[in-house]
Homo-oligomer: 305 residues x 2
Amino acid sequence: MTTLPSMNISAVERDTGLGKDTLRVWERRYGFPQPARNDNGERVYPAEQVDRLRQMKRLIDQGHRPGRLVAASDEEFAQLCSAATSGGRNETAAGEASLIARMIALVKANDVPALRQALNQAMMRMGLQRFVIDVVAPLNDAVGEAWMTGEFQVFEEHLYTEQIKSLLRQAIGNLPTGGGPRVLLTTPPDEQHVLGLLMVEALLGLDGATCISLGTQTPLVDIQRATAAHAADIVAVSLSAAFSGRQVRPLLSQLRAMLPATVELWVGGAGAQPMPAQSGIVSLPTLQAALDALESWRKSRANGD
Amino acid sequence: MTTLPSMNISAVERDTGLGKDTLRVWERRYGFPQPARNDNGERVYPAEQVDRLRQMKRLIDQGHRPGRLVAASDEEFAQLCSAATSGGRNETAAGEASLIARMIALVKANDVPALRQALNQAMMRMGLQRFVIDVVAPLNDAVGEAWMTGEFQVFEEHLYTEQIKSLLRQAIGNLPTGGGPRVLLTTPPDEQHVLGLLMVEALLGLDGATCISLGTQTPLVDIQRATAAHAADIVAVSLSAAFSGRQVRPLLSQLRAMLPATVELWVGGAGAQPMPAQSGIVSLPTLQAALDALESWRKSRANGD
DNA sequence: TCTCCAGAGTTGTCCAGGACAAACATGGAA
DNA sequence: TTCCATGTTTGTCCTGGACAACTCTGGAGA
């Protein structure tokens, strides 16, 4: 109980998402992190530095650069953390701001039954579509920010995520069987976040599309195979901000090249950068954009395209 | 469409679960894998070798050793793959063998609606408890084996997993609110498999326990914090066979030391090795054992322990 | 003033080859 | 047979170097 937890380099890699090579090269170049060494000469990272690394990773995902972050003073750093999500993509609808604040408080209080009830109630009142767009999406952002500023523990974020997952799956299960386009939903390898997928599945299913979800981390070859096996009209992949920006472009190009031209490729989530128009890749910066894209697909098909 | 997919060392690490260092050292020691090199001298692994590596990883998780596997001929190797799960932990109840074979066929046929219906029907007929123990568990083994012998594509396994997850979550959501012990459910970092967790949650919830699931990959410190925050009586972690055997013992010891002595620590799944009796760790090799452990916990509490 | 581009700086990932602790197997003694 | 000592196997860590891809900066030209 009294051992302050310190981690070896593998554990830090898992916990922060920063590769072993990156951790070593940062130490060499910037002098941070500066782990102790055990008897065998291996790096041993104190918990404090691991926390800092986690925050740095998050800031880097948002476009900051490591060289600047290590040079920043503690005050500057804290300021960056707070300011991080202020440019949030999901504007909180004015009417729901207090609802979201209340739910955040319930997570903080670890009151699962009350949280579940509040979520359920909101969903009933607003309907699934508005609930997903106006509550779940901004709530995700809020939880992410709370985690960032140290207000939330990891386990609280986990608990929150579980509740949302459970709720959305329940809702999706109760949707009538769809017609419309057949949409294959998944994320590429290395992308573990499933919430975006579930939100899209709920919205599209609600609008009458047939969603086939493969869950997370499907190898590209298998996305290709599944598209053929299920005669999908659309492949939709979700990328979180944690998905390193530099790999996005080549990965999507590769996937696009592997799919038949008649199949649309949609990319959503915080990691979805604007795409060149002729790339054959549809970028969906918001959930609303996914609904629009669905409508536009239907129109183009109706016109015999 | 014509490019045969070949991968760099990072991609292979993701796909196979073998670390970069391991891949390089195997090449040095055993001469396998033997990737080509690109213009920059970097390894480029052909898809064929990656498939082989995936199978080797699985066999190693089951206790085989790399040195033997690379020395084995193709016939010996194929035989090992088939024989792999024959010592399966979840004996298929005689009456349900054909049901399971039928479901495997449905997955193979990519017929999601029929699969869903068959699963639902079986669950209704058998009740949740027997369904989980006699159908879901052996079905998981069967899917794993089918994947191993190359009968299933990765995306088919993904699709199957999604359906089971959805079904179990639905069932769990419909359970009445529990009393009994408060059980915290999760997996440690690096363990991504959630199915075992859901099966246990269904069984324990059905038996009246209160389950608090944190999902997968909770850092040990956060398991500790969540245990306190939710006043859990029992912490249950699930380890799949993919969880490397050598890390299990120290990880569980560390976790055990971090929890109050009054909290029981249960370990289930294929990665759960028998534990020394005085270690304070309860090993649950089967799902039935979890139910027994619950009963035994209740008895010991009733006796004023 | 704005736009564009070349050069300098930054950053993540790869490489080679060495080392070592922990896990495993093997064979002989009790 | 059971048990233990000894040799072998295996995964992971280390150092220090390299380089391609990306970002920033300042100056030339419209």
